[in-house]
């Protein structure tokens, strides 16, 4: 039995062209006319929607924070998705742009904004083009001025304050908070930053209400979610499933594993490794994964096969995360760099002595940046040392690793660090 649902990913064309405005209205119906702001905010709260960008902050709380500010407000739709193993936001932008744009309109109404910007990565040219023509299709009917902005293709660019900096013409680097974006964001204005999947969900809640939204999912984590599944599965890709779906069912939906699985990365590069047997017994919810030391995050999931050298994969991603530091906070710059170097030597079987040092350094980088980059990277690396403890010993003994570097975990090539 299929576990997929099609709330967001509805009416997709097999030839890959986006759902146009006519088809979109036929599939979902029009957005309801002006609902008063209070009822809209109440509906979002009752739905239990949490942000879908990874942090999982309650959407209603964020909306109310911006709605309660004085001054001219702005909505920033975050479609940057700088995380290599995640593809769900690009799928939304590329195939169902009107659902995202509806969500932008709903959010703008909820907070009282008359302007909005959809931010995408500068190399997401196809997505930007689809958005452009979608905006042209609806120009007449739009109640909010919506623009598109392209920001540098970096991991950190999707962080709220970095995104605001980048759109304002600065470098895509986080700033120290407070002030948070809802207080002072783009051009100093109260800014709602919301992931594009969150906005698409908002577009459905505005139409169908909170009771409908909660018909699937779990009590605590209702609704559907997009999951990017990759690695050793037959049909890797983006799936829409109810929250709380057993991970095993999702893997079956993707045609099952291509070879025996060794471990599963949940929550992407800010997430955690779990033993395959452990992971396959869990559900896709923060509650289930969290109890086992994992997290759902932005729901990028990678199944690592047994025939793969886990340490080579972890070393490559550790280096990538160190290189993707915004380069501002000492512990992140120096700590992640030093850690990546030791992980590389562990992978090459040079010595095991480094492991204790890495564990101490992980404690030292966590919580010590202006943003969550060092924390996310530390969680990824710490869980790798736990789950791949046997591999670390094996490598240190000089035993030849049976696994190959299959490059299951994608990274962007190393960029030249721009001068400050």
């Amino acid at each position: 039995m299929s576990v997929s649902v099609s709330r967001l990913l509805r009416g997709l064309h097999s030839d890959g062209r986006p759902v146009d405005i006519g088809e979109h209205l036929h599939l979902h119906g029009p957005l309801p006319g002006r609902v008063d702001r209070g009822s809209l905010l109440d509906a979002v709260e009752l739905s239990g929607l949490h942000g879908r960008g990874g942090a999982g902050f309650p959407t209603a709380v964020k909306l109310r924070a911006v709605a309660g500010r004085r001054g001219r407000k702005v909505v920033l739709a975050n479609g940057v998705e700088g995380e290599p193993p995640s593809g769900k936001d690009k799928v939304l932008l590329r195939y169902v742009p009107h659902l995202v744009l509806d969500g932008v309109e709903v959010a703008a109404h909820a907070v009282g904004a008359d302007q909005a910007i959809v931010a995408v990565s500068e190399n997401a040219t196809a997505e930007a083009a689809v958005l452009q023509s979608a905006l042209r299709e609806r120009r007449e009917s739009d109640r909010v001025g919506i623009g598109i902005a392209a920001v540098p293709d970096t991991f950190v660019a999707g962080e709220e304050t970095a995104l605001i900096n980048a759109i304002g013409g600065g470098p895509p680097r986080p700033t120290a908070t407070p002030p948070r974006p809802f207080e002072r964001g783009l051009d100093g204005r109260p800014t709602l930053v919301q992931n594009v999947e969150t906005l698409a969900q908002l577009a459905l809640i505005a139409r169908h209400g909170p009771a409908w939204y909660r018909q699937i999912g779990t009590r605590e984590e209702p609704g559907s979610a997009l999951v990017t599944l990759s690695g050793a599965v037959r049909l890797p890709g983006v799936y829409e499933v109810p929250l709380g779906t057993p991970l095993r069912d999702l893997v079956d939906e993707a045609g099952g594993p291509t070879e025996p699985a060794r471990a599963v990365l949940v929550g992407g590069y800010f997430g955690a490794w779990l033993d395959a047997d452990t992971a396959f017994a869990l559900d896709l919810s923060e509650a289930s994964l969290g109890a086992a030391g994992g997290l759902l995050g932005a729901r990028a999931i990678v199944v690592l096969p047994e025939g793969c050298c886990a340490l080579a994969e972890v070393a490559r991603v550790s280096r990538f995360l160190a290189d993707e530091s915004a380069g501002q906070c000492g512990p992140c710059v120096h700590g992640l760099g030093a850690i990546a170097q030791v992980i590389a030597s562990l992978a090459q079987g040079e010595s095991r002595e480094g492991e204790l040092r890495v564990r101490r350094w992980l404690d030292h980088v966590e919580g010590r940046g202006a943003c969550r980059h060092p924390d996310g990277a530390a969680g990824f690396i710490r869980s790798a040392l736990d789950v791949f403890a046997d591999e670390v010993v094996l490598h240190a003994r000089g035993a030849r690793c049976a696994g190959r570097d299959l490059r299951m975990l994608p990274v962007r090539r190393r960029r030249e660090r721009r001068a400050a």
Binding site: P174, T175, A176, Q328, C329, G330, P331, C332, H334, G335, A338, W361, H364, R368, G369, A370
Partner: protein, 70 residues
């Protein structure tokens, strides 16, 4: 009204004066950046804290006054 020490990690350049002036609450990591204990500072130590804040060459350290909410 008590207070606690906060560091702005972007501004901090790891000069390390704070750790020298206020070792009760500030230690340095392996790269020379301050690890700040953010617990409320008892009155007798406030003078030390203030000295550390004033000595920071890049103004990365500050005393945050704690309200009941914190």
């Amino acid at each position: 009204m008590s207070s606690r020490l906060r560091v702005n990690p972007i501004a901090c350049d790891g000069h390390g004066l704070c750790a020298e002036l206020f070792p009760e609450r500030v230690t340095l990591d392996d790269w020379g950046y301050p690890i700040v204990d953010g617990a409320p500072i008892p009155r007798p130590l406030e003078q030390h804290a203030r000295r550390a804040v004033d000595a920071c060459p890049v103004l990365a350290l500050r005393l945050q006054v704690l309200t009941r909410k914190d």
